[in-house]
Amino acid sequence: MTSVTPTVSVPRLTRRGNVTQWRVVASEWTKFVTLRSTLWSLGVGMLLTLGFPILFAAVTAARWGQMSPHERADRHPLDIALAGVNVAQLAIAVLGVLVITGEYSTGMIRSTLLAAPKRLPVLWAKLGVYAVVAFVLTFPALIVSFYSSQAILDRHHLLQISISAPGVLRVLVGGALYVLGVGVFALAIGAIVRSTAGGIGLFAGIFFVIPPLMNIFPTNWNNAISRWLPSEAGRQLFALTKDPNRYAQWPSGLIFLGYCVVAIAIAAVLLERRDA
């Protein structure tokens, strides 16, 4: 008597498609929106981005009577409206690092590279999805910040400026572009170091530790070096007036872009060459 081993059979798949850049983008989008932790941190980040200008405007309005003329001259309505950029950049940077290091720490990167083994399209898709998310969240947040802070100041008849005034819209777009650049730079750093702690540490070092360190140099050295730092160059994107110690908006923007391109290029070469 022979016994036949029972078997399990896998349903066949009739429609078969190739991997394309757009499909990899769709996959990265799905990954991005299906992590609850990502959505929470973005939500909290954006709430703080919106909250700071409101707080700043309210405090300014409340203290206006006791402020010295010098202090009053120092308050600019756009500085108030853009107060959220500092929070937004931190939230977007941390999440940018996590977009890629989260895959390394959990091992997900192996599944990703089995499904899309040509590695560069994966990097482009991650960068593209994240750049769009960063801009699409930050730009409306800055517009809302502008109107909400203006509305608070308006009740006290203070510091009014129109969105159609020269340079205002440019600065709001520039602020959002700066945050986009920060997100892309952070993602590239994450791809280079492949560890969450290392990536966030390196980003914080470059953006928050090195700039104040420049103060140990004589002023003329400090200015000569600082204008080339990614954080300082990037900030000129949302400066309303030109800082005499920095390059103008466009050259500074190009320097900032240069840093992003170099970081992405290093990430691309390493991703292509290293074992996953």
Binding site: V8, L13, R16, V19, M108, P117, A276
Partner: protein, 310 residues
């Protein structure tokens, strides 16, 4: 899409991988054929997982080459339809649900949600498909990994230690699955460090130890080579029988009272000699179950970390 059998093989030639100064895989060559379950056997740390990572293009070989279904893994325009793989190391983001994990992978090939749900059902994760994969047990993680491997209905299946962490029912299910996949003409390459597991599922064996190829043989040959002539006899007259059987080339041990094990003589000869000398036998068993021992014997010099006998 009919393809010639020769296109559906895994073919390694002189495959070598160094990690720093350590050689993980050392000049191995083999061919894994379709329609069979090929077991990839070796002690822990012998280079099985590394070999699989090389096949899948996750790591690049130091020298040598490996093709799967006629191409480097990376060069396949639709890799999930060609090769389904389950790696030993966890490859799932802990914060994502099982279903969304599969959905993200499916999107790379334009595979439908319906297929994702089919796979979830096939591996028995329906109840927990919407829960975070981080909460999964090892066995559930293995099932999710299998669903991912089967998602693209691949021609070739590569599984690294698939029964790890599975309950007996799950182990049985995997065996049936592997048999079924091979019966459909697919190439099935499964690693294990357990000989007993392989003896139940594999048709062919590739054995490695310390990164080197030790054997590449049909399982029947391995079994017959391994089992040799060993017979276990239980008898109230064991010591008398022992005297009768003594001759050159035969060694006899007595693991317990009334039981002897004879090495180098077939069961029928033992039985006949016993009858001739009027020795009563309560049991006469040819020992086939020494596969594990044969494997141990074969890989003895090739185990990375050996326990030192006291």
């Amino acid at each position: 899409m009919q393809r010639s059998v020769n296109e559906l093989v895994i073919e390694a030639t002189g495959l070598t991988k160094d990690y720093g100064a350590k050689r993980a895989v050392d000049d191995i060559s083999f061919v894994v054929k379709p329609g069979l379950v090929t077991g990839f056997l070796g002690p822990n740390g012998s280079g099985k997982s590394t070999t699989m990572r090389l096949i899948l293009g996750l790591d690049a070989p130091t020298t040598g080459d490996v093709l799967v279904n006629g191409k480097h893994y990376r060069e396949h325009p639709a890799p999930l339809h060609e090769v389904g793989a389950l790696l030993e190391a966890r490859s799932i983001h802990t914060g994502r649900s099982a279903r969304n994990h599969l959905l993200a992978l499916a999107k790379t090939h334009g595979i439908s949600r319906k297929r994702v749900d089919e796979m979830v059902d096939l591996v028995g994760l329906h109840e927990v498909a919407r829960e975070r994969a981080g909460k999964f047990s090892l066995g559930m993680g293995q099932r999710l990994g299998l669903a991912a491997a089967l998602l693209g209905d691949p021609a070739t299946i590569i599984l690294d230690e698939p029964v790890n962490g599975l309950d007996p029912e799950g182990v049985h299910w995997i065996r049936m699955l592997l048999r079924g996949l091979a019966a459909e003409g697919r190439t099935v390459f499964v690693s294990s460090h357990l000989m007993s597991e392989m003896s139940l599922t594999a048709d062919h064996l590739i054995v490695i130890g310390r990164g080197r190829l030790i054997a590449d043989t049909p399982i029947d040959e391995f079994v017959s080579r391994a089992s040799g002539a060993r017979v276990r006899v239980r008898s109230p007259q064991a010591s008398e029988l022992r005297r009768v059987l003594v001759r050159d080339g035969v060694s006899i041990t007595s693991p317990e009272a009334d039981v002897i094990e004879i090495d180098g003589m077939k069961a029928n000869v033992v039985g006949e000699l016993a009858a001739e000398h009027n020795v009563v036998l309560h049991e006469l068993t040819p020992l086939q179950a020494s596969l594990e021992e044969a494997f141990m014997e074969l890989t003895r010099g090739d185990v990375e970390f050996k326990s030192v006998a006291a």
